[in-house]
């Protein structure tokens, strides 16, 4: 079972990091989500793998460590909040900057339909400076 869990965490991390390195905000958000799944799973199994054991200390000689479960619960909640924030931010950036590239600017090709939007953006950043 250890091997299976380790492979699962590995695959999730690999996919997450691959997606984070993409240039589009949506892929990055997906990648962050997968990566945080991997991290949560990793955190959870740090209490070692047990089946059918109580999660609290009692007379039994074997028990499941409750601390990683508490930690992973906190991590899930925080991760959820952060993911929703990054999604809202990505949407906002897309509508305001006219591009879903993580740099906010198209590097490779120009999208003709958004030309006007781009000019506006230039004006706006100019004004900021």
């Amino acid at each position: 079972m250890e091997l299976l869990v380790a492979i699962t965490i590995g695959v999730l991390t690999f996919s997450g990091i691959y997606l984070i390195l993409r240039a589009r905000t949506f892929s990055v958000a997906l990648g962050l989500t997968l990566f945080s799944y991997a991290v949560n799973l990793f955190l959870f199994v740090m209490g070692r793998l047990h089946t059918g054991q109580p999660a609290v200390l009692n007379d039994a000689s074997s028990y499941t460590d409750p601390v990683p479960q508490a930690l992973v619960l906190t991590a899930i909640v925080i991760g959820f909040a952060m993911t929703s924030f990054v999604l809202i931010l990505a949407l906002r950036a897309y509508t305001e900057l006219g591009s879903d590239h993580v740099d906010g600017v198209e590097k490779t090709k120009k999208i003709t339909g958004l030309g006007r939007n781009k000019q506006n953006k230039k004006k706006r950043t100019g004004a900021k400076r």
């Binding site: 991290v39 070692r48 990683p68 952060m82 931010l89 305001e96 993580v102 906010g104 706006r124 900021k128």
Partner: protein, 500 residues
């Protein structure tokens, strides 16, 4: 137990929650709550500083659970000092923001309070996982504060900042998980005790977790090669937010200092001094690259953002060198660099308001309305930040240069001295462009906001004050350095019996 230890976390948290509910109240009411909160926070920090000055390490067990099992807050000289730095910054940022910047978006004061709660918590906690939680609190507040006032430039900067920090948080969790999986504890002092005895595979895994953690703190502290997000974010943030962010890099540095003295300190056995060789090189590279960035900056705010990085590199060099003298020096330099750079960010905003559309761009622009007053202030602040006598930057750098010897001195002295020179050239280039080379068109800019200017000058006055009171301040930082190097005293304070 001293319940006052909770005040720096609870007070801004409660006021922040209160401010969320009163967001539709008259702005004066909101400002009154926010202002009252930061002033009380300042008094609490002052009181805790005097208490910590006695040299006793205070431990507050939440719910009165004993140390390795329950969550603890720890107040030592270092935490008290950092609380003080934050409180002073919080007061001036709030006062400055009340001159109008808080109206450029919703919930400014509430977010500021949450950010302060997170920062104070990070300085007080004695538990690795709670450090993560407080980091997240201050980060999510900082995401929203960075976006305060919106605009395309801020959105673009925030996207990088948020994504990078989310990756950092995930790495933090992996590292915390590893620490717990191997050592079975998250209490920093207990962790230090475990690491002192660890060997073989255990030690290797703990070192891997420690290295991962240094990377996360490095992202927050922003040193090479993890600093590329910082110049854009700081240069585009609203002035009071940029000023508040002057403490953000120091939180990463504080965490590195805490780990390199307590967990991976002199008594850590095989893991002693983990990564200090690498950190030393990275610190010097950071100073060199960021001073080049400051020299090439095309706006005043991005010049200041690169100066933040110079101070990060300088401080990191002191931490990596790791002697009592170097830590004494950098704690003094930390006080100076945080307050003065924050003051300069506020001053840059006042200057920008008199230059119309050009704002802080380093181009020939309109004549300022108060060139002598603002120019004079900028001149003095630039001398302080560049590290020329008679101001505090000079003393900090001299102390740091004196603390190293041998081959380390041959590496550090040229880097610090030449970067100081380049910094002076860069700052005088910016100053002459803004104050002397005008195209004689009077801009239609707003007249000087005297109250905002007064607050900015008060914050900048900390530099001469640090010089006047250099003796007691350095005595305190010296005692701080001694205390954090003395790991057994932390074990005693938490009543963890086994010796290292």
């Amino acid at each position: 137990m001293n319940h006052l230890l909770l005040v720096p976390v609870l007070l801004p948290l409660i006021c922040g929650a209160l401010l969320m509910t009163t967001s539709r109240s008259p702005i004066n009411q909101v400002r009154l709550i926010s202002c009252g909160s930061v002033l009380l926070l300042f008094l609490a920090a002052l009181y805790l500083l005097t208490q910590a000055g006695s040299g006793q390490i205070q431990v507050y067990g939440l719910g009165d659970w004993p140390a390795p099992f329950g969550i603890v807050l720890v107040l030592d000289r270092l935490s008290a000092l950092m609380l003080m730095v934050t409180a002073v910054l919080g007061v001036f940022v709030t006062l400055y923001a009340m001159r109008g910047d808080d109206l450029r978006g919703g919930y400014f004061h509430a977010l500021l309070q949450f950010q302060l709660a997170g920062i104070n918590g990070a300085f007080l906690t004695g538990d690795l996982f709670n450090l993560f939680v407080f980091f997240e609190i201050l980060l999510i507040a900082s995401y929203a504060l960075l976006l305060h006032g919106l605009g395309a430039a801020r959105l673009r900067a925030a996207l990088h900042y948020v994504i990078l920090n989310l990756i950092g948080s995930s790495l933090f969790l992996i590292s915390a998980g590893l620490f717990y999986g191997i050592a079975g504890t998250l209490n920093l002092v207990d962790l230090a005790r475990f690491i002192a005895q660890a060997e073989g595979d255990q030690l290797f895994l703990l070192e891997a977790a420690g290295a991962l953690l240094m990377m996360v703190f490095g992202l927050k502290a922003a040193f090479f090669p993890l600093y590329f997000w910082l110049p854009r974010a700081y240069a585009h943030a609203t002035a009071p937010v940029a000023a508040l962010f002057a403490i953000m890099t120091k939180i990463g540095l504080y965490a590195i200092l805490r780990f390199s003295t307590l967990v991976f300190g002199v008594s850590a056995g095989g893991a002693s001094g983990l990564g200090t060789g690498v950190l030393w090189v990275l610190a010097l590279v950071t100073v060199v690259l960021s001073i080049l960035g400051a020299f090439a900056a095309n706006t005043l705010t991005s010049l200041l953002a690169y100066l933040v990085l110079v101070s990060v590199g300088t401080l990191l060099a002191g931490i990596a060198s790791g002697t009592e003298e170097s830590i004494t020096a950098i704690l003094y330099y930390l006080l100076h660099s945080t307050w003065i750079i924050a003051g300069l960010f506020l001053l840059a905003d006042i200057i920008a308001k008199q230059r119309g559309d050009l704002a802080t761009g380093l181009k020939v622009g309109p004549q300022l309305l108060n060139p002598h007053l603002l120019g004079g202030t900028f001149f003095v602040a630039a001398i302080a930040v560049a590290g020329l006598p008679p101001f505090s930057g000079f003393f900090g750098k001299v102390l740091l240069l004196q603390s190293v010897s041998g081959s380390a001195a041959w590496q550090l002295w040229p880097v610090i001295l030449i970067s100081g020179l380049v910094g002076v050239v860069g700052l005088s280039r910016a100053g002459s462009m803004i104050f002397w080379r005008s195209n004689n068109t009077l801009s239609g800019a707003a007249p000087l906001d005297k109250t905002a200017y007064f607050f900015t000058v008060l914050l900048l006055l900390t530099s001469p004050l640090l010089v006047v009171f250099a003796q007691p301040v350095i005595a305190f930082t010296e005692a701080t350095a001694q205390q954090i190097m003395d790991v057994p005293s932390y074990l005693n304070a938490m009543q963890l019996k086994e010796a290292l």
